[in-house]
Symmetry: C2
Amino acid sequence: MPARRTIGVDLGGTKLLAGAVDQALGVHHRAQRTVTGLDQRALLDVAVDVVAEVRASAGAEVAAVGFGLPCLIDRRTGIALMGINTPLADIAFADVMTERLGLPVFVENDGNAAAIAEHRAGAARGVSEAVILTIGTGIGGGLILRGEPYLGAIGAAAELGHIVIDYHGPKCQGNCPNHGCVEVYASGTALAVEARRLAAELPDSGLAQAQRAGRELAGPLITELAHDGDAAATEAISLIGSRLGIAMASLVNIFNPQVIVIGGGVIAAGELLLAPARAAVTERTLAAVHADLRIVPARFGVEAGMIGAAAIAFDGLEAADR
Amino acid sequence: MPARRTIGVDLGGTKLLAGAVDQALGVHHRAQRTVTGLDQRALLDVAVDVVAEVRASAGAEVAAVGFGLPCLIDRRTGIALMGINTPLADIAFADVMTERLGLPVFVENDGNAAAIAEHRAGAARGVSEAVILTIGTGIGGGLILRGEPYLGAIGAAAELGHIVIDYHGPKCQGNCPNHGCVEVYASGTALAVEARRLAAELPDSGLAQAQRAGRELAGPLITELAHDGDAAATEAISLIGSRLGIAMASLVNIFNPQVIVIGGGVIAAGELLLAPARAAVTERTLAAVHADLRIVPARFGVEAGMIGAAAIAFDGLEAADR
């Protein structure tokens, strides 16, 4: 019988990804749900349902479930306080789900979960100072400092999407009261906004043609068109990449990291996103701090948060065994 | 005979402060020099001279000298690589000064030095997560994370003055290639720029009268006029405070700190600077992360960097004794 597995669940603003994961962080069964527009109650029901599906196909005993939540989590109380792009608020998520699932449940912020996965077995492996950004509906963040996840005073650190890049800028997304955060300029949501603008300005572009054909100008389609060579789609991604690079320049001056790892759905754009981001960092920071810096895609891509959530569940089990 | 002392030297963009300091971080003799416009050679001569002066009046044996430098310092080589507002570049500062002074010399970034002083015996005492900003010619930074100074991959972290708050903004100061850093909006240099603008706009203001009387509209005078109730001077300081608050909001989202400590010459403005900064943080961040946050002046005020430099010299001696 194979060794026990955990289920990792990454609960994004648009999608929920779940998978059965082994201790070496290999993924054995995957499931996905769309969660746009759900309220908290419906979201919990979907989470219970997807865990049941993955558990049934896990191919081994499932010992625990880890959730990556797009929320501030107060580590003193275990309460998921609130998130920018999620209906979750003031809920003792681990307790509630432990009861509903009949399995030990562990929670972590989704950006931190992605950071943990990339640090253990991905693009930040062997590195002591790493910054992780996950670009999806919003922008999540995770920090590995002196070789360990950095959580801050109550566990609410690394909200790296909420770094201001233009203080005169528009109101940020969802519950964030700030203005001009990088999230409002460079998330997947912002990519779709720029793509719609370019489609209107350039009626001959692939973006405009796709829109006229009734297709939704969201991240996956924009990325597909850009990879196919559409100049407008490429420009939309490049614009997002340069803006990400501006926030990265601040992060480089703050952390002097060895690596910046980019995950989340938008990293499907690969070098089309990363090259302009690197150019902005090179232009805006001193050579001494960017000379040895790597800016790279997450090894686990869009699955980094899910795999990290599973890793946290293994950690939780180990801590309980001691 | 009193216990041995160290000399701390804080080398700012405009002024050099030095003092003989005891192990409890009490200051026993102070000296000051203006260093504006000096080249590297002249700056080293001034540093040698000021150390000799303080040493002669220290009232006890001086065992070592610590320097807080406004520079990136590569910890792998000990080289002071470059700074934004200083002529120091590519110099093995500790080695050079050890030879010239005939005393052990230790160096640290000036913002880190201020952070160390405030964490050991000042406004961040007993706290594990603290952000320190020093507002002078430029804006320096220091980080205490999990109870220890955070230095980054090569020792160049915590350049907190070089967080972008408006990416369309003007070129930053000195050697910084970035645009729209908080340093260009909220340093002592920026305060003087705003005061001159307000003096021109408001010819009846105390600022304008002082300028007509031939006085230089720099930090100390602006602060004095504001404390005396001049509305224009108060407005200049308030503007700088709100802009600082914007960068602080990003830092709060990044670090979820327990305390933000403000030092450097401009903190002489006290609550006139801090109240608008706090208001911006409250407006721009989630209640959960700012609820327990303190934003306070450095206990050691403008001397935090100097005292921290002396503390580093004691640390260096201790490490050598082991």
